[in-house]
């Protein structure tokens, strides 16, 4: 008996609407973030992550309204990522009802931003998102680097070192995405996940590549992740969150049911 491993559905939000399609039988409007969040809550999601993929900063205010609406009706933790660049961005999201913000590019541009945000708002609400890609040749010891711009731009930063550094700067959690696996449905990069999880003292959320329920369980059992994040397997109603939890439980993982 103890802490449950978490399942976190992730929703991409563009100008206030959930994109990439979400199919639930009873949902009338598949793009409404409030309706979708409510549904995930009913299915037993442990948290919900919103990724604001809006390109224009003019539309960022829309995300604040989305968070406000969701937070008035859905009483589980909410994380917002995408475009969080300043302390003011963090404050606005938290005030709107987000429990955590996820910082990615801004941390790479200026790592001190993570320290400042953690000091100001508490490390419990600062998630650092790491997008990593394998850079070793076959036969070499494994090595991953941080990439930006959706995995197109290398930074030369070693992913494990970076995770340790962000831990030291006050991040409360790491959201780790394998850019090699993202969208492939081949499962998490378990070696990467395990390397990062063992390198830090804070929780790690595995992301990128989930195609089956076994992938979720593997992320925890083999990747040593504290939480698993997935998008498409839940969006397209391939599996419900409850099915995912039952499956994880059957493989010996403690979950909240």
């Amino acid at each position: 008996m103890g802490l449950a491993k978490r399942i976190i559905p992730c929703l991409d939000v563009d100008r206030g609407r959930v994109v990439k399609g979400v199919k639930f039988v009873e949902i009338r409007d598949a793009g409404d973030p409030v309706e979708i969040a409510r549904r995930y809550d009913q299915e037993g999601a442990d948290e919900i992550t919103f990724l604001d993929i809006t390109a224009s900063s003019d539309d960022r205010e829309t995300m604040v309204h989305v968070v406000e609406q969701v937070a008035s009706e859905v009483f589980i933790p909410l994380t917002v990522g995408g475009g969080i660049r300043t302390l003011d961005d963090v404050r606005r999201m938290l005030n709107a009802g987000a429990d955590k913000v996820s910082i990615n590019t801004a941390a790479i541009a200026r790592p001190e931003f993570v320290r400042e945000a953690a000091e100001r708002f508490g490390n419990q609400c600062i998630v650092v998102a790491i997008d990593a890609k394998a850079v070793h040749q076959s036969g070499e010891p494994p090595r991953w680097e941080i990439f930006t711009h959706g995995g197109r731009r290398p930074t030369g930063i070693d992913a494990v070192e970076w995770a340790r550094r962000m831990n030291a700067y006050g991040a409360g959690e790491i959201l780790l995405t394998s850019m090699d696996r993202d969208g492939t449905k081949r499962g998490f990069d378990l070696e990467l996940t395990r390397a990062i999880s063992e390198a830090v003292s804070i929780p790690v959320i595995a992301s990128g590549g989930v195609g089956t329920l076994d992938h979720l369980a593997d992320g925890v059992l083999l990747g040593k992740a504290d939480a698993v994040l997935a998008a498409s397997i839940f969006h397209f109603a391939e599996y419900t969150i409850e099915q995912a939890k039952r499956h994880m439980q059957a493989r010996g993982i403690e979950v909240r049911l």
Binding site: A4, A71, D99, Q124
Partner: protein, 212 residues
């Protein structure tokens, strides 16, 4: 109509707490306030907290709310959340040692290298996520909440009350710690009921109707 004051002293987002209370107690008047008069007048008081204990105590002092919080804790239904219960104790070892309000006897200590009892693996700190609360006794705030229900936690420090009879909820994370403490009109929890789905909402509803 009952009025519930959520004490706002600049420590984190209280919107979720207010929304959750409004959701479960639509007839109640819920105020998020740092106004001494409002807090003194309210029928019920919620004392939340986030971030570090040093900042929490400093902000309480800066807003001139120390005595108001103490008074409320001694006189009316009082719900401490997250850092709230820690601030009620005598002393916290966070930030090289900070004195608390001393309403309840005890100390606040850090999770020191917690381990999974079966695998021996290191457990992560902060303790983040859904963990079980084993209810001790039949406190009215547990009414309708099944034994061992899960609540949402995020914290690196935990309360160690001097008097274990004050503990009304225990949680296991490498060690057994007090996740809920109560005395008379005070109920204080380490977890976030406002983020704990049905179990949390039920606890808040019970608080809104509690007449100790």
């Amino acid at each position: 109509m009952t009025s519930i004051a959520i004490i706002d002293y600049g420590m984190g987002n209280l919107r979720s707490v207010a929304k959750a209370l409004e959701h479960v107690a639509p007839q109640a008047r819920v105020l998020v306030t740092q106004n001494r008069h409002d807090i003194l007048q309210a029928d019920r008081v919620v004392f939340p907290g986030q971030g570090s204990i040093r900042d929490c105590m400093r902000e309480l002092a800066r807003w001139n709310l120390m005595d108001v919080v103490r008074d409320a804790a001694l006189g009316k239904p009082f719900l401490g959340l997250c850092l709230g219960p820690q601030a009620l104790l005598d002393f916290s070892e966070e930030n090289d040692g900070v004195d608390g309000l001393g309403v309840l006897p005890g100390r606040v200590v850090r999770f020191a290298d917690p381990r999974d009892p079966t695998t021996g693996e290191r457990l992560k700190v902060p303790h983040m996520g859904w963990n079980q609360v084993r209810q001790a006794g039949n406190h009215p705030l547990w009414r309708g909440i099944p034994q061992d229900s899960r609540f949402y936690f995020v914290h690196s420090y935990y309360s160690r009350p001097a008097d274990e009879t004050l503990v009304v909820g225990w949680t296991y994370y490498g060690i057994e710690f007090a996740s809920a403490i109560a005395r008379d009109n005070i109920f204080a929890v380490q977890f976030h009921p406002e983020k704990s789905a049905q179990a949390g909402l039920r606890l808040l509803a019970n608080f809104a109707n509690w007449n100790p």
